[in-house]
Symmetry: C2
Subunit: 235 residues, 2 copies
C-alpha cells in the first residue's frame, strides 16, 4: 500500500455524491487543504470540490483554518469520538493478553492531526517498564509507531524516514526503534487495519532495550502481528 492508498482504494457505493463526499473528508483528514489542493488531491473539478467542501462546512463537518484551508470540523471530531469507544473496547483485552505474554508495556496509537495519540495502554504492574498515559501525544517523526503511520498514511513527516525503511515496514508489517526517543527504550509497532483495509491505529510493544535483544522484531514480531491482526478482524 503506497502513499496514495486512501485515494486509490476509495470504494464505490453507487451513490456518487456520497462517494465524493467521503473522498473529500478523507483527503482533508490527511492534511488541511486549500481549494486548489483539494481539487488536485481528489481529482474533482474545482467547482465540485468547492461545492462539496462548502456544504460540509455548513454542517460543521469541515472548518476553515486561518490560512483559508479546510480542516476537520468540530462536529466530525465529535461524531468520531462517539465511535472511538469501539476501537478501545475491542483492543483492551487483546492488549492485556499481549502485555501478559511479553511482560512489556503495550500501547495503541491513533493519528490525531500532526501527532499520534496513545488511546489505550496496558502496562505490567511492577518493575522496569515504559509508561505512556492515555492521552499522551507523541511526534510523528520518531519512534516505531511513527514509522507505521508514515509507511501506510500520506503524512507530511514521512520524510523523516528513508524510503527503504518504510518499504521494509510495509513488507514485514513491523517497525522498530531502539534508543531513538529515549535512551535505553526500544519499541516495536504494527499497523491495525479495519475490515475495509483502512489503517486506523498502530499497536506497539515498548520496554527496556536490553530486554528486547537481539532486536524487538526478532523478540516479539510474531506475537505483535498476531495481536494486531486479531484486533483488525474485529473492527
Amino acid at each position: 500500500m503506497g502513499q496514495q492508498e486512501i485515494i486509490d482504494d476509495s470504494p464505490e457505493s453507487g451513490i456518487k455524491v456520497l462517494d465524493r463526499t467521503v473522498l473529500v473528508l478523507n483527503v482533508i483528514a490527511e492534511q488541511p487543504r486549500s481549494l486548489a489542493e483539494l481539487a488536485a488531491a481528489t481529482d474533482l473539478p474545482r467547482a465540485t470540490a468547492h461545492r462539496l467542501a462548502s456544504a460540509l462546512e455548513v454542517h460543521g463537518m469541515l472548518a476553515r483554518s486561518r490560512d483559508n484551508r479546510w480542516t476537520i470540523g468540530a462536529r466530525l471530531a465529535s461524531l468520531g469520538a462517539r465511535g472511538a469507544d469501539t476501537l478501545i473496547d475491542t483492543a483492551v483485552p487483546i492488549m492485556t493478553e499481549l502485555m501478559e505474554r511479553t511482560g512489556e508495556s503495550v500501547q495503541l496509537y491513533r493519528l490525531t492531526g500532526t501527532t499520534r495519540t496513545c488511546v489505550a495502554s496496558q502496562e505490567p504492574q511492577s518493575g522496569l517498564k515504559n509508561v505512556v498515559p492515555v492521552g499522551t501525544r507523541m511526534p510523528l517523526n520518531a519512534g516505531s509507531a511513527a514509522r507505521v503511520f508514515a509507511a501506510y498514511l500520506p503524512i507530511a513527516s514521512a520524510d523523516a524516514f528513508s524510503r527503504e525503511e518504510l518499504d521494509h515496514v510495509r513488507a514485514t508489517g513491523l517497525a522498530e526503534s531502539v534508543g531513538e526517543r529515549e535512551l535505553g527504550l526500544a519499541s516495536l509497532s504494527s499497523p491495525v487495519f479495519d475490515s475495509n483495509g483502512s489503517m486506523i491505529a498502530a499497536l506497539s510493544i515498548s520496554g527496556v532495550a536490553e530486554r528486547l535483544k537481539p532486536h524487538p522484531a526478532a523478540m516479539w514480531g510474531t506475537e505483535l502481528i498476531d495481536a494486531a491482526e486479531r484486533l483488525g478482524a474485529l473492527l
Copy 2:
C-alpha cells in the same frame, strides 16, 4: 434546545444527498440504530435510509453491530481523531486560565458512545485537588458534566435526571453536582457549542465541596460560562 435538536436544527447545504448523509451520521452517532429506527429518526423513506447507511458502511464510516444496528465505523472514528487536536489545542490555554483563576481542577469532556471521556485536564500543581487523567471515561448518569450532555443531547441515560433539573441546566447553561460521584467532591459544568450551534463538549470545574460553597454555580458560574463561550467562539 430540546431532545431532538440535532435533527431539527440540521442545516441545509443545497446538496440533498449530502444533507441526508450527514443526517444519517448524526442520528447514528447519537445511538446505534436498526433500519426501522434510522428511518424513524431521520424521517427518511426506509429505502433511502437503507441506501445511504449501506453506502456509508461500504466506506467504513458506519459499521454493523452484532444486533444488526448501524454504529459509527472505525474509519469515521479515525477521521474524527484527526480533528480532535483542534478542540484540545484551542481549549488548553482557556482551561489553564480558568484553573489559575479558580484554583480548581478544570476538565473538558466529550461524549464517547455510552460514556463521557476527559479529553483535556488542567490541575493546580499542589494541594487538595480533584485529579482526572486525560482518557478517563465517566458515566453519563452522574456528575455535573453528565447533566450537561443529558440536557443538550438525546442520550439514553438522560432518564437519570429529572425534567426540571435538565430544564434548569438549559435555562442557566450550568449544571452542578455535590458529593454525587464521590464524597466531598463537587463540580460545575457548562456546555461548549461550536459555531454551528452543535453541543460538542462539556467544560467543568471540580474540587473540594467545602471550597465551592454556598454552591458551585454561585461560586464560579460566571467564570465558567465565560470560558465555555470563549472556547466555543473559536471552534
